[in-house]
Amino acid sequence: MPDAAPGLARQFGIAVLLLALAAAAPWLLSAYDLNLLARFLALALLALGLVLTWGHGGILSLGQGVFFGLGGYALAMHMKLDGLAPGEVPEFMMLSGVETLPWWWAPFAHPAVAIAAVVAVPALVAALFAWSVFARRVSGTYFSLITQALALAFATLLVSQQDLTGGFNGLTDFQTLLGADLNDPGAGRWLYWLTLACLAAGWALVTLLLASRFGTMLRAVRDGENRVRFLGHDAAAYKIVAFAVAGALAGAAGALFTLHAGVISPAMVGVVPSIEMVIWVAIGGRLSLAGAILGTVAVNFARDKVSSAFPELWPYALGALFILVVTTLPGGLAGLRKAR
């Protein structure tokens, strides 16, 4: 809306400063910590989508892992095919006795198709899913439960199709991407910068969306969906678009994460990781993009430290933190700043 313009300019100024600082990380951190930071910044890209849908749209998805997984698998499938001669199948398929490449694998041999699919497939699946649910006026808790069922079904499907998806172990052991050697020591830096650039682009996209009339409409739908409908707007359309954008962001996050982790597997896309994603954003602040990024990075670093020392303790710590934040700090960490 018109009053938003000066605020936007200031936000973008601060963001450029932070970006410059973050870009220097490869000279400040060890290779191990840089890889962790890169992974968490990839996850933060997904968190931005949750701010859009959950914070501003009131749509709580407990199944973002699905879209994360679709993006991750899309790129992973390409990397498994990269370097193979036409007609050859990846090693895990040979071991399962699959001799010809399934038709739906074939397009991913083209890098451009695979990279487009990283965002297009999750966005499309999210849009279709949201359309089918919202057109029936299903919302609130029921919607959240359906998304959770979707995550469960997706993970189960991946595990059950061992010969086509790599099953429980997922896809791993990647060598090259676009001709670059992924095991080269310098690759980590470039992938980190790529992630940072994607995060910055995602942040700019969501910031602009939230500042536009679309953002106002989304908040209006969150606060009074029927009201908006009786004023002549198609309320479901705003929710569907927001959900699709969040799906695309989650897909990109999944692909980047797969690059840094060197693996994508059903364990990263199911119910538990999907719920954890929501917790990062709840802790960081679901109405704040900066809060969501901070929450994602902080919780995941804490997870890395705690779970390496006391692996069995982490779920309890995370649960306790979640309850503490929800009961005492509804705005998350970002709410601290506003409260003062």
């Binding site: 809306m1 018109p2 009053d3 938003a4 313009a5 969306l209 500042a211 536009s212 009339r213 679309f214 106002t216 409409m217 908040r219 209006a220 969150r222 606060d223 009074g224 029927n226 009201r227 908006v228 409908r229 009786f230 004023l231 002549g232 707007h233 198609d234 309320a235 359309a237 705003y238 678009v241």
Partner: protein, 250 residues
């Protein structure tokens, strides 16, 4: 009912059946362009169901609703709204986390298309319209206030403003003075009388002093059926109305 006149809305023998309970029972009503009409009736007479049916929230099991001659009783809610019918609910239905001006802007948006929402500026025509309505509802100095923080009466006026901002030809106002004091009520009556002519308006209420101030034709409903129609004075002196409101003793 005037014999001539430009017919805008015709509720034609509508029955609404809630699992055997007939909230509307073969009810009919016609409304001319620019007319202000008050619908009264005891609790449970079907007044709110009538509004729900016109805006498409409730589907009639029998009968039709004609708006400018078109049967709208099967259209989706937002399509009916786009045709030019807008309703103010009993409880104030403002959007609480948006500013007063944004509430009106959403209602006034010329294009209700999704793609039109990916922009920043506000069309000059929309800004003028919002300013004009702020003035009309007396909230000019509250434009930047968050709607959820308004006083009760202000919320009601904002919502009337939102209904007006849609430029709807037909406005349905369900108990617009609920919870208001006498001063606010008479200000609301002035506001509504000023809107008639530009809009056709159906007001639902049972505060008789408010109905008198509106000085409009009154339709009386009872148990989902049409009971009578006339001026406030005629309704006041009608024996059947007294019976319905006060019981057989009258």
């Amino acid at each position: 009912m005037t014999a001539v006149g430009d017919l805008l809305l015709a509720v034609d023998g509508v029955t609404v059946d809630f699992d055997g309970f007939l909230a509307l029972d073969g009810f009919s009503l016609t409304l001319d362009k620019g007319e202000l009409r008050v619908v009264i009736g005891p609790n449970g007479a079907g007044k709110s169901t009538l509004c729900d049916t016109i805006i498409g929230r409730v589907r009639p099991s029998d009968g039709r609703v004609l708006f400018r001659g078109q049967d709208i009783s099967r259209l989706p809610v937002h399509r009916i709204a786009q045709l030019g019918i807008c309703r103010k609910f009993q409880a104030p239905g403002v959007l609480p986390t948006l500013t007063v001006a944004d509430n009106l802007a959403i209602a006034a948006a010329k294009s209700k298309r999704l793609w039109a929402s990916f922009g920043f500026g506000q069309p000059a025509s929309e800004r003028t319209r919002v300013a004009e309505i702020l003035d009309r509802i007396g909230l000019g100095d509250r434009r930047a206030a968050i709607a959820g923080t308004l006083a009760h009466g202000e919320k009601q006026w904002l919502e009337i403003g939102m209904v007006v901002a849609t430029d709807a030809e037909l406005l349905l106002l369900d108990e617009p003075t609920a919870g208001m004091g006498p001063a606010e009520t008479s200000r609301t009556a002035d506001l509504i009388r000023g809107l008639a002519g530009d809009h056709s308006i159906i007001v639902i209420d049972h505060d008789m002093s408010f109905v008198e101030q509106l000085a409009a034709r009154v339709t009386v409903m009872h148990q989902g059926q049409f009971l009578m129609q006339g001026s406030v004075a005629e309704v006041r002196s009608d024996a059947r109305v007294a019976e319905v409101y006060l019981g057989r003793a009258a």
